[in-house]
């Protein structure tokens, strides 16, 4: 991508054009973020009558809380699995679509649909599919000898939210992988074929290395997604259970605030999440600048 420099005749025009986006950022990010920071240094008494300033006490407690650390671990496992699964499936599909370029449009259209489905709806969909009593997928797994029950089995529950979350992300990843593959001149793989590399070797030594900027970019995007945008999926399928087995960080923020009514701790958790998302976004922006020249 080449960047074009545009010169505006009036100085106010660029600001006017930016205004809606800046307004949205202010209302939906800057304001809540400042609120979170504000509450993260306060503590309420159990009846919610008084608040007092406690400094970093909320953070200190969080980092000493085994439940929080466990949730952190759960989130890491969850996001790695989601990124791995959704990118793996998307890559296989993109390679297939790249081969049969004529059907790529059909593929693309079909594959973009999941992305248009709201997370909660996706969650409900998978919830029904894997419902231990009435779900089709659960029934099929039973037939295969796996007694599926995500209400009891923590691994089943994790598998369920991973599948539900990854499914939605496949289409997005697919589009990027397909675009990356199509940007590669066909003659590169042809030259490799003449040079005696079979299809797998061509993929591993030519296509994959050239896709690596895309892989890295998508990895960050998928981890951000798994960290922050999967609340609806967890809420609609496992609700964090069984036990705390699928309590990922965003879910814990919500539960501690609205069920546990521990506003200070929840706000501190939010602040930590904000720091993570800012860091990941910074990495992502840097990778956008790394491109392969053909």
């Amino acid at each position: 991508m080449r960047t074009k420099t545009v010169t505006f005749r009036h100085l106010w025009l660029p600001y006017l054009l930016l205004a809606p986006q800046l307004l949205i950022t202010a209302v939906f990010f800057l304001w809540p973020a400042s609120q979170a920071i504000y509450y993260s240094v306060l503590q309420e008494d159990p009846f919610g009558l008084t608040t007092q300033f406690v400094g970093l006490e909320n953070f200190r407690r969080l980092l000493a809380d085994p439940l929080y650390l466990e949730s952190f671990l759960t989130t890491v496992v969850f996001s790695v699995l989601v990124a791995g699964l959704s990118m793996g499936i998307a890559l296989v599909l993109a390679i297939m679509a790249d081969r049969v370029i004529r059907t790529a449009l059909l593929y693309r259209t079909l594959l973009i649909w999941p992305y248009a489905v709201a997370p909660a709806v996706a969650g409900v969909l998978w919830f029904f599919l894997f419902n231990p009593t009435v779900g089709v997928a659960a029934y099929a797994l039973d037939a295969l000898g796996h007694d599926w029950n995500h209400y009891v089995d923590g691994t089943d529950a994790m598998a369920l939210i991973v599948i539900a979350a990854a499914w939605r992300q496949v289409s997005y990843n697919f589009l990027f992988f397909l675009a990356g593959l199509q940007a590669m001149p066909r003659s590169l793989t042809e030259a490799a074929a003449i040079d005696g590399a079979g299809p797998l070797k061509r993929f591993l030594t030519i296509q994959l290395p050239l896709l690596s900027p895309t892989v890295f970019f998508l990895m960050v995007v998928n981890i951000v997604y798994a960290f922050f945008e999967t609340f609806g999926i967890v809420h609609a399928t496992t609700a964090g259970g069984p036990g705390n087995d699928t309590v990922i960080l965003v879910y814990k923020v919500w539960r501690d605030a609205f069920e546990g009514l521990n506003l200070g701790s929840s706000a501190a958790q939010s602040v930590i999440l904000i720091v993570i998302v800012v860091a990941l976004t910074a990495i992502q922006f840097r990778t956008l600048e790394r491109r392969v020249e053909y």
């Binding site: 030259a191 003449i194 590399a197 030519i206 392969v292």
Partner: protein
């Protein structure tokens, strides 16, 4: 020892597009054959079928006597130079050249020796550690050549390898390719749409049009004895002049615009029928007077001075198209002059209504 035999080959793309209806060509061992023709005539298609990058719809291709229709590109013992070079952007020059050898399990020390040898031939020894993006266009071109020669294949295939270079570098690389091919004596098939490249490089030329072989022959053949009107027009610059003619009733001459009568018995079989007469600009010569029936008078309109030569553009009575004559630079002409011209004997070409050559007068 690897001659190439292309035997009744046909190619139909899904669509269906019949890119090549039926084409046969034999290329001798060590020969450099150039495929030339206008854009879209099927040159790349034919080359890619030889390479194994495109399925062969019908017919047979043999390399060194071995049928290759169903062989993978890697099994055909060929190397190809692409128009965009197709260098692996993430590999160094060394790795680009070594890639094919590694895939074939050549021992490391031997790879080193082979790459060094190829790099030496092409003057790339100092650039082995660079990535393709750190090279100039000409250097990239050389690396692409190096990748082809390092494996010592039976056949080289070139698909317009010089078309991304500027004119000066192109003529320089043209000579280098020719020298290299002579030195290695590897059978080569070279695609271009540039007729100068075709004429200077090829031992023989295949001139294609709409997927059909119009003529196969040496550069001298196609220049002096074009088999069809298409070949006559395609080879040569400026293009051959074509004049409408009619064979005299007694078959002993051809009547041309401006009262010119071309005396020849070659068109006897076409008595009374229309023919096309072709004369190259460089084969028109100033004549003494404009009164003889074997001279034509050109009303000059535009003079292009090239130094050694002068191109004179003008018209004949009774003929609307511009006629061009390439005359010695020493000749004094001005636009508007009436210039008597005659054709050198043996350089006038006659084509019948199907555009095939009848003879050369």
């Amino acid at each position: 020892m690897a001659p190439i035999a292309i035997d009744g080959v046909r190619k139909v793309y899904p669509g269906p597009v019949e890119a090549i209806p039926n084409l046969s060509l034999e290329i001798a061992d060590g020969e450099l054959c150039v495929l030339v023709g206008p854009s879209g005539c099927g040159k790349s298609t034919l080359l890619r079928m030889v390479a194994g990058l495109e399925e062969i719809t019908g017919g047979e291709i043999r390399i060194g006597g071995r049928r290759v229709n169903d062989l993978e590109p890697a099994e055909r013992d060929i190397a190809m130079v692409f128009q965009n070079y197709a260098l692996y952007p993430h590999m160094t020059v060394y790795d680009n050249m070594a890639y094919g050898l590694r895939n074939r399990g050549v021992p490391k020390a031997e790879i080193r020796a082979l790459v060094d040898e190829a790099a030496g031939i092409l003057g790339l020894s100092a650039l082995l550690a660079r990535k393709p993006r750190q090279l100039s266009g000409g250097q990239r071109q050389r690396v692409a050549m190096g990748r082809a020669i390092v494996r010592k294949p039976q056949v080289f295939l070139f698909d317009e390898p010089l078309s991304n270079l500027d004119a000066k570098l192109r003529s320089q690389m043209r000579v280098e390719i020719k020298r290299l091919q002579r030195r290695l004596a590897t059978t080569s098939l070279y695609v271009t749409h540039d007729q100068v490249e075709a004429m200077t490089l090829g031992d023989r030329l295949l001139i294609m049009n709409h997927g059909i072989a119009e003529q196969v022959g040496t550069p001298m053949d196609v220049y002096h004895r074009p088999a069809t009107r298409f070949v006559a027009g395609f080879i040569g610059s400026p293009m051959m002049n074509f004049l409408p003619g009619r064979v005299a009733g007694d078959g002993r001459g051809v009547h041309l615009p401006g009262g010119w009568l071309l005396a020849t018995a070659k068109a006897r079989g076409h008595a009374g029928r229309p023919v096309t007469v072709g004369i190259r600009p460089e084969h028109l010569q100033p004549a003494a007077t404009g009164t003889d029936s074997d001279t034509i008078t050109l009303r000059t309109e535009l003079i292009e001075v090239l130094g050694a030569d002068t191109l004179v553009h003008g018209r004949l009575d009774g003929h609307d198209d511009t006629v061009i004559a390439r005359l010695p630079g020493s000749l004094q002409v001005a636009a508007g002059d009436n210039l008597p011209l005659a054709a050198e004997p043996g350089t006038v070409h006659l084509f019948d209504e199907t555009e095939r050559a009848i003879g050369h007068v």
